[in-house]
C-alpha cells in the first residue's frame, strides 16, 4: 500500500481525461492519469468509423486515429493503466485506487472526473418477455466486433436510433449480418442525420420511427422481438404489434454518466451527471469534471475541449490561483433536453452546451429573461448546440437568482 502525492489526478483515460491530463501538465501541474483498461483511449479504439476531429484537427479521423493524436499530446503525465479509482470521499481529494501494482492512496490537490458514461441496459426499460442470449448494448456489440473480432449473431434488430445504434447497424451489415431494422420510439431519429444517411439509407436498412419493442422471445437464444407503434403521447398501439424474427437485439437507448465512486463528493447530480459551473468546477471546489460524465455529448472534439478546460482549471486550483466566485444556477426550461453546465460565473465568459427536446427549423435560445440569447437554425436533438456567452452576458445574467435556459421555436 503506497501513498502518492500529486497536484492533479485525472480519472478516466478517454478523450476527456487525456485532454484534461495533457492540459494540466502543460500548466505545470504534477499530473497522474488513471485508467481502468489496459490502454488509453476509452471508447475511441472501438469507434473505428470516421467523424472525429473535424473541429479539433480540421481533418476527418476515425476514433483510433483521434486517440493516437491525443496520445501524442500527452506529455509530462504519469499514466497508470489497469488501475481503478474505488472511492473519492467528500471531505478531501483523496482517491483510493487499486491496480496491478497494488493499493495506492492518491492525495491530490484537485481531481478531474472524466469517467464517461455507461449504456442503459435493456432491463431498465421493463420490456416483458424472456431473457435469452443475444441481447447486447451497442457498445458491447461494437467491442465484440471491432476488438475481439466476434460476430454477435446472424440477424439483428437495433433498438434506438442514437448514433451508436446507427453506427452498429452499418457495422453489422458490412460484416455480413442481416440487419432488419432500426426501431426508434420517438418520431424523429436520435442520431446525426449524416449517420441516418450513411448507415441506414445507404444499405436500405429501414428506420422505424415511433416504434418500440413490447416483447422479447426466445429461450436459450433470442428468437424474435415484437415491435409496436406508439402514438403521439408515447402510448403503445397494441393493434400494430408484429413479430420480427431476429437472433440479435442491439440496444442503444441512452447513456448514463458513470459517477458512482465520486457521488458522495459531488452531491447533487443534475442531468444524472456531475454538476459543474462554467469553470467545470463542482460545488466541491477541488472536484472538476469533463466529458460524458457531465451529460452525453455528440462530438468527441467537444469532449476533448471540455477536458482541456477542466484540466487547466484544476491545475490553477491546485496552484491556489482559482479564486472562488459566486455562481448563478441555470435551469432547464422549455425545449431543453440536456444542459451543461449547471451554473455560470458572472463576469466570466461561459460556453453552454445544450440539446433541444424537439427538431426546430429556427429557434431562439434564451438564457434568463434579460435578452441574452442566440438565434439558431436547423435545430436537431441529436446535435448539441453550443452557445458562447461573453463576460458581459454572464454579468447580465448575474442579476437573476437562477437563469432559465429555453429553446423556443421561431418557425
Amino acid at each position: 500500500m503506497t501513498r502518492h502525492r500529486v497536484d492533479v489526478l485525472v480519472v478516466g483515460g478517454g478523450a476527456a481525461g487525456m485532454a484534461a491530463a495533457a492540459s494540466a501538465a502543460r500548466e505545470g501541474a504534477k499530473t497522474v492519469l488513471v485508467e481502468e483498461g489496459s490502454c488509453l483511449g476509452g471508447v475511441l479504439d472501438q469507434c473505428i468509423h470516421p467523424g472525429f476531429g473535424l473541429h479539433r484537427y480540421r481533418e476527418e479521423l476515425t476514433g483510433p486515429e483521434f486517440a493516437h493524436r491525443m496520445l501524442g499530446e500527452l506529455r509530462g503525465v504519469e499514466v497508470w493503466t489497469e488501475s481503478s479509482v474505488l472511492e473519492v470521499k467528500p471531505d478531501r481529494p483523496l482517491a483510493k485506487t487499486v491496480g496491478a501494482a497494488g493499493w495506492v492512496e492518491v492525495e491530490a490537490k484537485a481531481l478531474v472526473w472524466a469517467a464517461g458514461a455507461r449504456e442503459r441496459p435493456l432491463g431498465a426499460l421493463r420490456i416483458p418477455g424472456t431473457r435469452p442470449a443475444g441481447i447486447y448494448v451497442a457498445g458491447l456489440a461494437q467491442r465484440m466486433v471491432n476488438i475481439h473480432g466476434l460476430l454477435p449473431g446472424r440477424r439483428a434488430l437495433v433498438l434506438g436510433s442514437g448514433d451508436i445504434g446507427l453506427i452498429m447497424a452499418r457495422r453489422l451489415h458490412l460484416e455480413g449480418m442481416d440487419v432488419v431494422a432500426v426501431a426508434e420510439i420517438r418520431p424523429h431519429p436520435g442520431g446525426l442525420l449524416r449517420n441516418v444517411v450513411q448507415c441506414l439509407e445507404d444499405f436500405g436498412i429501414p428506420l422505424l420511427l415511433s416504434h418500440t419493442a413490447v416483447e422479447i422471445h426466445g429461450q436459450g437464444r433470442l428468437s424474435g422481438v415484437t415491435l409496436a407503434q406508439v402514438d403521439g403521447a408515447g402510448a403503445v398501439r397494441p393493434e400494430t404489434a408484429r413479430l420480427v424474427e431476429v437472433d440479435t437485439l442491439i440496444v442503444s437507448v441512452g447513456l448514463i454518466p458513470e459517477v458512482e465512486p465520486v457521488s458522495s463528493a459531488s452531491g447533487d447530480l443534475s442531468m444524472g451527471g456531475i454538476s459543474t459551473s462554467s469553470r467545470l468546477q463542482n460545488r466541491t471546489p477541488w472536484l472538476f469534471a469533463a466529458g460524458n460524465c457531465l451529460a452525453p455529448f455528440d462530438l468527441v472534439d467537444t469532449v476533448a475541449a471540455l477536458g482541456e478546460r477542466a484540466g487547466a482549471a484544476a491545475a490553477r486550483f491546485a496552484r491556489g490561483e482559482l479564486r472562488p466566485a459566486p455562481t448563478v444556477s441555470l435551469r432547464r426550461g422549455d425545449g431543453v433536453a440536456v444542459l451543461v453546465p449547471a451554473a455560470v460565473v458572472p463576469g466570466e465568459p461561459a460556453i453552454l452546451y445544450l440539446r433541444a427536446a424537439r427538431p426546430m427549423d429556427e429557434a431562439r435560445v434564451s438564457v434568463g429573461t434579460d435578452g441574452v440569447g442566440r438565434t439558431v437554425r436547423g435545430v436537431r436533438p441529436a446535435e448539441m448546440i453550443e452557445v458562447r456567452l461573453s463576460a458581459e452576458e454572464t454579468e447580465a445574467v448575474a442579476r437573476l437568482q437562477e437563469a432559465t435556459v429555453e429553446v423556443i421555436p421561431l418557425r
Binding site: 500500500m1 481502468e36 489497469e82 481503478s84 474505488l86 483510493k96 487499486v98 491496480g99 496491478a100 501494482a101 497494488g102 493499493w103 455507461r118 449504456e119 441496459p121 435493456l122 432491463g123 431498465a124 421493463r126 420490456i127 416483458p128 418477455g129 424472456t130 431473457r131 435469452p132 442470449a133 447486447y136 448494448v137 457498445g139 458491447l140 467491442r143 465484440m144 466486433v145 476488438i147 475481439h148 473480432g149 466476434l150 460476430l151 454477435p152 449473431g153 446472424r154 460484416e175 413490447v214 422479447i216 429461450q219 436459450g220 437464444r221 437472433d247 448514463i256 458512482e260
Partner: protein, 470 residues
C-alpha cells in the same frame, strides 16, 4: 440426491457427514439454476406459517440455523429484520393474528408497532400506514451462492456432483428403490432424495408415487440498484393474502433493492415459462409503490421472473415416503430456502437412521468462498495482488470484481456467463454486463481452452456469439 438446488445441496452436505457414497445429480449445466435462482432471497421468520405445520416448524428451525450454516460456508447472510405493514384497520387485525401465530411457533422478538412508531422507523413508507409487525429474525441471503457452497462442501467431503445429467427412471424392487437411471448412467442406490424442485412431481411418479401435482407459480420481479440506503434498512411486507406473502420490497446482499414477486399460477406444461409480462411488471410496480410511494424506478436495471412449485395439496413433502429408500425434500411452498438447513438435518437424520450410516471422521463443515478482493482490507488486497496481479485488474467495475476472482470462479466450475455471474456478481450491477461481458467471454474461452463460439449464456442453446468476423 436428485436436484442440486439449495435444498438438494444442503441435504447432500448433511449426508456427507456420514460414510457412504453420495451422488448429487443436477439436470441443468450448473448448480442452483432452478427455483433457487429466482426467489426473494429472504430468510423468513416463520410467522406466515400456520400452527402445527411442518413448514412452520422447519421454517423457524431453519431461520435459527442460517447464521451458522452461512458462516461455515462463507455465504452472505444479513439479519436485517422485516416489517409487515398494515395499510388499513383490517390489516391491523391480521397483524395481531400473525403476531400470535408467530409467537406460538417460537419466532423470536416479534413486536407490534403503532402508526407513529412505524412511521418514525420507516420515514419513506406509505403515510397511510396504520401500524406494523416487526420481526427481527428476518434475513436476506444469496440463494444460489448457498447452493454452490453447499455443493462444494459436499464434494470436498466426498460427494460426487454430476451436472447436465437428467434422471429418466427409478427402479424399485419389492417396494424399495434400488437404482436411478439418468441420461448417462445407471446408479445402484440405497436411498434416493427427491429435491427436484419444479420437476419433483414427475420424479415422484418415476418412483411410483402418486403425488397431488405441482402447479408452477410464477413470480415476477424488478431489481433496482444504487438506491438511497434509507430504503434498504429492512425487508418490507404487505399483509399477506391466502395466496401469497404479497409484493415485497427486499434489500439484496449486494446493494440492490428487489421488488416483487407477483403470484400467477401457470399450467403444468408451462413449468419453464420464466418470462415476465406487462401485467406482471405493472403489478410489481403498483404493489411496491403501495409500500413505498416514492420508489426511484429510474434505477431499475432488470426485470425477471422465477417459478415456485406450489403443491396442489398445500405441500411440504419432506421426509420418508411409501416407497422405502425414497425420500422427498420437495413441494415446498415458500419458505423452502429458509427451511433448507432444517430440512437437510431432519432428512439426513432419517436416512442415517434407516441405513445405519456411521459418521465420517474427516468431515469438514467449513468451505472457503471465492475471496472478494474489494471486501478485503487494503493490506490484504495488496498482498493478494502481490501473489497474483490478476486480483488488481478490475473486470466488473459496477460490482468491483477482479480478473482473479473470475478465473477462480471458472476453475471452481463456472463454464457459462451466468455461472461466472452467479459466483462472482460480475454483470449483476448497474450496467448489467454492458461493460464486462466481452472480457468475461474472453476469460472463459482462455481458461477453458475453448473457442468463443462455444461459450454460452446459460447452457446449450444459448451461445453468446455466432462466430468470428474474419
Amino acid at each position: 440426491m436428485i436436484g442440486a438446488g439449495v435444498v438438494g445441496a444442503l441435504v447432500a452436505r448433511e449426508i456427507s457427514r456420514y460414510e457412504g457414497e453420495v451422488f448429487l445429480l443436477e439436470r441443468e449445466p450448473d448448480v442452483g439454476w432452478g427455483v433457487t435462482k429466482a426467489n426473494s432471497a429472504i430468510v423468513h421468520a416463520g410467522f406466515h406459517e400456520e400452527l402445527g405445520t411442518l413448514s412452520g416448524r422447519l421454517c423457524v428451525e431453519g431461520n435459527a440455523l442460517f447464521s451458522s450454516v452461512c458462516r461455515e460456508l462463507e455465504v452472505p447472510f444479513e439479519r436485517i429484520g422485516g416489517y409487515v405493514l398494515a395499510l388499513s384497520e383490517d390489516d391491523r387485525a391480521t397483524l395481531h393474528g400473525l403476531h400470535a401465530q408467530g409467537t406460538e411457533l417460537g419466532v423470536p422478538g416479534l413486536r407490534l408497532l403503532g402508526r407513529e412508531e412505524t412511521r418514525s422507523c420507516l420515514p419513506h413508507v406509505n403515510p397511510a400506514v396504520e401500524g406494523s409487525l416487526w420481526a427481527p429474525s428476518v434475513g436476506i441471503t444469496e440463494p444460489w451462492a448457498l447452493a454452490v457452497a453447499g455443493a462444494e462442501n459436499a464434494v470436498a467431503n466426498g460427494a460426487v456432483l454430476r451436472l447436465a445429467e437428467e434422471v429418466h427412471g427409478l427402479i424399485a424392487k419389492g417396494g424399495r428403490v434400488c437404482a436411478v437411471k439418468t441420461c448417462r448412467a445407471t446408479y445402484e442406490v440405497d436411498a434416493v432424495v427427491n429435491a427436484g424442485g419444479l420437476q419433483a412431481d414427475a420424479i415422484a411418479a418415476l418412483a411410483g408415487l402418486r403425488s397431488p401435482g405441482l402447479v408452477p407459480r410464477r413470480g415476477e420481479y424488478l431489481l433496482l440498484v444504487d438506491v438511497p440506503s434509507a430504503l434498504r434498512s429492512s425487508v418490507l411486507f404487505p399483509v399477506p393474502t391466502p395466496q401469497s406473502k404479497g409484493i415485497l420490497v427486499v434489500p439484496t446482499v449486494d446493494g440492490g433493492l428487489l421488488l416483487g414477486p407477483t403470484a400467477t399460477d401457470l399450467r403444468p406444461e408451462e413449468r419453464s415459462s420464466t418470462q415476465t409480462t406487462a401485467r406482471g411488471l405493472a403489478q410489481v410496480v403498483e404493489g411496491a409503490q403501495r409500500l413505498i410511494p416514492d420508489l426511484p424506478l429510474g434505477k431499475a436495471v432488470k426485470a425477471f421472473a422465477g417459478l415456485r412449485p406450489e403443491p396442489a395439496d398445500g405441500g411440504f413433502w419432506v421426509g420418508r415416503t411409501e416407497v422405502r429408500g425414497f425420500y422427498q425434500a420437495a413441494g415446498m411452498r415458500s419458505p423452502g430456502l429458509t427451511a433448507a438447513p432444517a430440512i437437510a438435518r431432519w432428512l439426513a437424520g432419517q436416512i442415517v437412521a434407516d441405513l445405519g450410516l456411521v459418521p465420517r471422521p474427516t468431515f469438514n463443515p467449513l468451505r472457503s468462498a471465492i475471496r472478494r478482493a474489494a471486501e478485503l482490507a487494503p493490506e490484504e488486497w495488496d498482498a493478494l495482488i502481490a501473489r497474483d496481479p490478476r486480483y488488481g485488474r478490475m473486470v466488473c467495475r459496477c460490482n468491483r470484481v477482479t480478473e482473479g476472482e473470475i478465473v477462480e470462479a471458472i476453475r471452481r466450475g463456472a463454464c457459462t456467463l451466468d455461472g461466472v455471474k452467479f459466483r462472482t456478481r460480475a454483470g449483476f450491477g448497474r450496467c448489467q454486463g454492458g461493460t464486462c461481458t466481452d472480457r468475461i467471454l474472453s476469460l472463459l474461452a482462455r481458461e477453458q481452452g475453448a473457442r468463443p463460439e462455444a461459450i454460452t449464456l446459460h447452457g446449450p442453446g444459448s451461445p453468446v456469439v455466432a462466430g468470428s468476423v474474419r
